[in-house]
């Protein structure tokens, strides 16, 4: 068995059934081995970045390992954005690239790049396989490492001669035993009991740890008022009475107010990213902090924790639930206060009563949320539409909301939707994108067509880079700079060129029918939604500002009027 065949054997051993890749010179031995192996489904994307992002979407939607494959040189460098995206959001991914033959490494050979060197900062770990004998062990270790503890991408770079060399070596790898949870849990429970205004703050770590059910049980049992990060959306479920929604730069007024006033933050599976906390000095100024995470390096990174607990979130949440179940928390006044804020400071998208009025982003997303089936997976891109989805779509599970949280990768949504559809063949998968993001990986329409994936595509087209335009308007004295996209192609014609049916809507009275039409269609379909160029995402916190200083549309309008009168 040669090195390439060992890779396929590792796939079988770990039940890896679907991989995303693009062939080329130095990875050819693996593609040759794939010819004789019908049990691994290889999805041919149209760009290596599409492969990496599709593998990412597959992993997010399924909780399984995402796998992407490319050749050396440009194949490997094209993967980099997708791998960095997975790294920032801790997505389990195995990356396999061909490399020039061992003897040519370091000679500036055709399609040679120092992949190991240039990817050090975007992987959990990486390997250069120096012989076929060590490859089976590397594969075992890499697959384990990508999925254990805090997940992340692991990259194996394999010279062509190693892929071709015969070996009888067997995988030999003994995973390290996880360190035991420290005994701070008792102290954390005592601190929780002492608090008068405790707030539950959860992030993407919940689903990464496969702890959705444990978390939901704890949230239900404790009845703690709760906020979520962008990646934590769906943690509490759409029917949770205590969920105040997303916090941060585009968070709800209710969530940011609760953070500001709480006296204890119980942070679970979140890393206190700057988009969530705003200016750190003003973040939860009166609160003690309990931080629970799989990764000890997140503790005290941005905010000092009074108690830090590293370990498996499932285990810890179950222990917390048991402790709270025995003696419930006495925080009724705080719960009532948060309920009031939830009523008055949640996200509200007013339906436009005027049928011929232009479509607004929030109202469109609200209608989509009401119309789409419960098992719908939304894969967003990055920009205003991403925030409207986060604010106005009611997600019941975190794996239904695929969003590029850490890296903010425009072009993520379409390939991620492809990956999600392969992971959930019978679910409705929708890529909600903007006109800027869509054009970054539009070539993957060909992948949708090739595999006849029933992915629905919704382009919210404001003919500009809306989020940049918004910040230029608000924070750069309205000096627009290189954000104009009014020469976009005809998206309907473009979709049809890929043999994907499409329709365009631009009035409020067309919204419901447009959504129903694409959802009812048995196959891929694109909906081009024209929205107003000047529409903004509200509320917003100025980058680097405190979450207390949220700007909303009402305040902005009042300030404008005052300015004009003066």
């Amino acid at each position: 068995m040669n090195g390439a065949q060992h890779i396929l054997q590792a796939f079988h051993h770990h039940n890896i059934e679907t991989v995303f890749g693009y062939p080329g010179g130095c990875i050819m031995p693996l593609y040759d081995a794939l010819v004789d192996d019908v049990s691994v489904e290889h999805v041919l994307c149209r760009h290596e970045q599409g492969c990496a992002l599709a593998a990412d979407g597959y992993a997010r939607a399924s909780g399984k390992l995402g796998v992407c494959i490319a050749t050396s040189g440009p194949g490997a460098t094209n993967l980099i954005t997708g791998v960095a995206n997975a790294y920032q959001d801790s997505i389990p991914m195995l990356v396999i690239t061909g490399q020039v033959p061992s003897a040519l490494i370091g000679t500036d050979a055709f399609q040679e790049t120092d992949v190991l060197g240039m990817t050090l900062g975007i992987v959990k770990h990486s390997y250069l396989a120096e012989s076929a004998d060590e490859l089976p062990g590397i594969l075992e270790e890499a697959i384990e490492l990508a999925q254990s503890g805090r997940p992340g991408p692991v990259w194996i770079d394999i010279p062509k001669d190693v892929l071709l060399a015969e070996t009888s070596a067997a995988p030999a790898y003994a995973p390290a035993q996880p360190k035991a949870t420290r005994p701070e849990l008792t102290c954390a429970i005592a601190m929780l009991r002492d608090a008068r205004k405790p707030l539950l703050y959860s992030g993407g770590g919940i689903s990464l740890a496969h702890a959705e059910d444990s978390f939901r049980e704890f949230a239900k049992c404790s009845e703690l008022p709760a906020v979520v990060t962008l990646k934590g959306i769906g943690n509490a479920g759409k029917h949770s009475a205590h969920n105040l929604g997303m916090l941060g730069m585009h968070g709800s007024r209710a969530a940011n107010r609760a953070v500001d006033e709480c006296d204890l933050l119980l942070v679970i599976g979140a890393r206190m990213d700057d988009r969530a906390t705003g200016k750190l000095d003003g973040f939860a100024p009166n609160a003690k902090t309990i931080h629970i995470d799989a990764d000890a390096s997140e503790f005290n990174k941005l905010r000092n924790a009074d108690i830090a607990i590293r370990g498996d979130l499932n285990t810890i949440l179950k222990e917390l639930t048991q402790a709270i179940r025995d003696t419930p928390l006495a925080i009724n006044d705080w719960r009532k206060q948060c309920q009031t804020w939830r009523t008055t400071g949640g996200f509200q998208a007013a339906d436009n009563e005027e049928p011929l009025a232009p479509i607004t982003g929030p109202a469109f997303i609200s209608q989509l949320s009401r119309t789409a089936p419960d098992d719908t997976i939304i894969a967003c891109d990055v920009g205003q539409h991403q925030m409207w989805v986060a604010q106005h779509y009611q997600f019941d599970r975190p794996r239904h909301h695929l969003t590029s949280g850490g890296l903010g990768t425009m072009g993520f949504g379409l390939p991620a939707a492809i990956g999600a559809q392969f992971a959930n063949r019978n679910s409705t998968v929708i890529n909600v994108t903007g006109d800027g993001s869509f054009m970054m990986n539009a070539q993957e329409l060909a992948t949708i067509r090739r595999y006849n994936l029933p992915v629905k595509l919704i382009i919210m087209d404001n003919q500009c880079l809306g989020m940049v335009r918004q910040q230029q308007e608000l924070f750069y004295n309205n000096r627009e700079s290189h954000i104009n996209l009014d020469d976009n192609p005809d998206f309907v014609a473009m979709a049809r060129a890929f043999d994907i049916p499409a329709l365009k809507i631009d009035r409020t009275d067309q919204v419901r029918r447009g959504i129903e039409t694409i959802l009812a269609y048995n196959g891929p379909m694109l909906l081009h939604v024209a929205i107003a160029r000047e529409e903004n995402v509200w509320p917003i916190v100025k980058p680097g500002g405190s979450n207390k200083e949220m700007i909303d549309e009402t305040r902005r309008t009042a300030a404008d009027k005052k300015e004009k009168i003066a």
Partner: protein, 93 residues
């Protein structure tokens, strides 16, 4: 870099034991840099597939953060920090 600022920058001595794999040292140095420190001195020896590294680093960020990031590296077996001292300008490489 000015001498004035160097005088105020804390300096730390680290010893690190890690497996001798491809790009091991680069990986270590990359983490030190990205997490806000610069390497002033470095000594390395290798034996039985293990690298023993002695580093003097300088930086104003909390050094415990660097320690936890280094310990997270898959190939790192152990990281030990000596007590911090304020860097003298003459120690800057």
């Amino acid at each position: 870099m000015t001498t004035e600022s160097n005088c105020e920058t804390p300096s730390y001595d680290i010893t690190c034991r890690m497996s001798h794999e491809a790009a091991a040292l680069e990986r270590l140095c990359q983490v030190v840099r990205v997490r806000g420190f610069r390497i002033a001195q470095m000594a390395v020896d290798s034996a039985d597939g293990t690298l023993n590294i002695a580093l003097t680093i300088q930086g104003k960020r909390p050094v415990a953060m660097l320690q936890s990031q280094l310990e997270k590296l898959h190939t790192v077996a152990e990281v030990k920090f000596a007590a911090p001292v304020v860097a003298a300008a003459s120690r800057i490489a």
